[in-house]
Symmetry: C2
Subunit: 240 residues, 2 copies
């Protein structure tokens, strides 16, 4: 039977559609995680504890998707024994869903912190500080999922760069909150809660960065983690 036979064609097509299915499931999981993050942010900015509770309660769906996609990947590795690009795709998906699951955990944390803040009667002015950082992080997450969907290495690299700005903004915000606490020690508990929210956002940025790194790995077949950003540009010969 040569490689052009209908049967091998059929098998290969089925494999292609399996890979396509699994990629679509990852994008679905990404969409769910994005919704969780955006809802967590909306809940914080509008002191909407009902929405916050929905976010906190909804994390199990993200966890269930991780387990399902993970099992699917292992099945494909066992049955299809992919090599080269297909293998890199599966390995990258195994890693991506771990980061998506952890972004889900951070969204859940935002929900729980909103509920505590509202219970403690914190003024919404303290949440306002989170708005800009939150928007930046949500945009970065969206871009990283978009880079994944389109396997776009340039978009991935551009998105990685955003993480530096997020870290800077997080550091500034932390410093502001410390000053705030020192000026009025009665605010310490709630200012700390706002700090945990900022930290959750900052960590979502880190995970989005990881996802971008897996996109580069898929496209270039190189592990580019732990490499300086400037070296990175040289490594993939991109001047953007």
């Amino acid at each position: 039977m040569n490689s052009e036979s209908p049967l091998s064609g059929h098998i290969s097509k089925r494999f292609d559609s399996e890979l396509e299915d699994i990629r679509n499931r990852v994008l679905e999981m990404g969409g769910l995680v994005e919704t969780q993050v955006n809802s967590g942010l909306q809940a914080l900015l509008h002191s909407d504890s009902k929405l916050a509770q929905q976010v906190a309660d909804g994390d199990y769906k993200v966890n269930a998707m991780e387990v399902e996609i993970d099992e699917h990947c292992v099945q494909i590795l066992a049955r299809r024994q992919p090599t080269a690009g297909d293998l890199r795709l599966i390995v990258a998906i195994l890693k991506t869903i771990t980061d998506l699951e952890r972004i889900g955990d951070q969204a859940e944390k935002l929900g729980r912190l909103e509920i505590e803040l509202t219970e403690e009667g914190a003024s919404t002015s303290s949440f306002v500080k989170l708005e800009h950082l939150g928007e930046r992080v949500a945009k970065m997450l969206h871009r990283s999922l978009d880079a994944f969907a389109r396997m776009d290495d340039k978009a991935a690299l551009k998105t990685i760069k955003k993480d530096f700005k997020i870290n800077e903004e997080y550091d500034d915000l932390s410093r502001q909150l410390i000053t705030f606490m020192m000026e009025d020690p009665r605010t310490i508990k709630n200012a700390l809660r706002v700090t945990w929210c900022a930290r959750a956002l900052e960590r979502i940025g880190d995970h989005a960065r990881n996802i971008c790194e897996y996109v580069l790995y898929m496209v270039h077949g190189k592990d580019i983690r732990h490499i300086d950003y400037d070296d990175l540009k040289d490594q993939i010969n991109w001047d953007g």
Copy 2:
């Protein structure tokens, strides 16, 4: 050529030794990470900024090992196309090294925070609060690596249980530190740094828990993440 032929025996033996090699490298990486965590703790408890700097500077070694083992795993998946238990081992290793790398990041954070605390002239009495939590976390990490080395599901399950105590102790310590800050606002900055140290330790506990879950996955072939502890015991029919 039947399955008893010297050649197939030889090939299989080479595969066995490759798997053994990779497992040993994971244990080496685990040993390095353990050293980083213990040194970070020692640096904190003895205000030893020289040691702290070594820890902060040493993280690149952990990162390099992750990349190397990761590439080795992908090569094995491509060349050997393992199935069943061997495949689960490789997938579990791919996940374990991600957690080990992140434990390394937390150890680095301990080193950096110690340096800041010493520069700010923080009294060692604040670090003492971390001693008990640190010992607990270091022991849990050791046990999780031990469970991995011996593929011991019962030890893994026992070790997972330790994470609940660590989370409780972290919560208590956080509350104490908040009280401390409220009583004397001048201590806020350093008390926050001690809080970040406690949080780094708590996260090391989470990663050690993840490693134990991969041991259960390797041994039982089931993904047991996101399952309640009591359900977990039922799932693997263990009454320990």
